[in-house]
Symmetry: C2
Subunit: 219 residues, 2 copies
């Protein structure tokens, strides 16, 4: 019974996600879904990505949180359109929430929508949003063992951003062990060392994203 209902929820979400995907294709808008723990630096990473790419692309942001609108406000301060979704308890965004957020964005005048999912390394992985790519951000203070403990998200990510590398001297983080753990789960995702705060490594990540956007636009 639980399993049947759960499958229904996922099947309904998948149908709505495909609707989002078709709508994005029609408008030629690329959507990036950003997954991470609470406090990994998702918002700062998104702001650094915007700074790197805003001359080339018209960008908007969808912020997902259980509660509060602090992240959308931070993004708007930079002159970027932002929609805040409050899930009211749910630990992940769903495709219908994204569909309604699209209604509130000027899709005709955008090239890239960055979606900040709820801070959670587990729940969001099950819910396709219709995105063009999905990435995971892990920060150095969280520890190098996280791919062992949360394998699903590292297996599905199309890129892995290792954030807060400027704090590496302060924490015991074994980068070789981390890379090895990611590689066992995911043979293809590039791993970008970066600090969204200092800007280190942001350019490489932004170029990867730009290449994905160009490939999407080329069909």
């Amino acid at each position: 019974m639980e399993i049947a209902v759960s499958r229904n929820i996922l099947a309904r979400n998948e149908a709505l996600a495909e609707g989002n995907r078709a709508r994005l294709a029609d408008k030629s808008v690329f959507a990036l879904d950003v997954l991470a723990s609470p406090g990994a630096g998702k918002t700062t990473t998104i702001l650094a990505t915007i700074a790197a790419l805003r001359e080339r692309y018209r960008i908007a942001v969808i912020e997902g949180d259980i509660a509060s609108k602090v992240d959308a406000e931070k993004v708007k301060e930079h002159g970027i359109p932002a929609v805040q979704i409050n899930t009211g308890g749910a630990c992940h965004l769903e495709a219908d929430m994204i569909s309604r957020a699209f209604d509130a964005l000027p899709l005709d005048d955008l090239d890239l929508v960055i979606i900040e999912n709820v801070g959670n390394l587990v729940c969001p992985t099950e819910f396709d949003l219709g995105q063009g790519a999905r990435i995971v951000v892990l920060s150095v203070p969280e520890g190098d063992d996280k791919p062992l403990k949360y394998p699903g998200i590292f297996a599905m990510a199309e890129a892995v951003l290792l954030n807060k590398v400027d704090a590496a001297g302060f924490f015991d983080f074994d980068e070789a062990a981390f890379t090895d753990s990611v590689r066992r789960l995911n043979g293809t995702a590039p791993i970008f060392r970066m600090s969204a705060k200092t800007g280190e490594g942001v350019a490489d990540w932004a170029e990867w994203l730009a290449a994905r956007i160009e490939a999407f636009r080329a069909g």
Copy 2:
């Protein structure tokens, strides 16, 4: 339909949690449920707590993770009995998992069982495990805005541990704003500033826990 099933799941969990609670009362064993994001320092905090209290209490640990057994192995290295639960995808522990873990522990020879829940600020709050107290650990690198974004867990916690305060100089963490946000959600929970790594502040937290254990034993 979804809501009805979800209520069934929670009602069944609650009944099993009450069974766990009765079993712990019968054996005079206090159970502490530790909630936090991935990488907040739950395991290090548990090890520091064990170091502070192992002369006074006989302690065991139940480790909850989606996958891997690295945390149970770390605890066992300190000569403490540990049971690893792998949820296989679920983002929280449930009372029946804890009941089976109790079967694998020498409850007659224990005073305190520390339960490390899955790293997640959302899902575990819904599932009572039969614990005597539930606490949340937040680490400085995660940011001072987390109570705004994850209010449920801060509202229900009986104590709040602010971990990694030794890294405070490295991150922009507004402790006054954090304390204020916690206080709006929770008028009673003490907030302990600590660093599980350096040991700073651990004694105060451990004394609070010891007082809770003594109150439990006094009935």
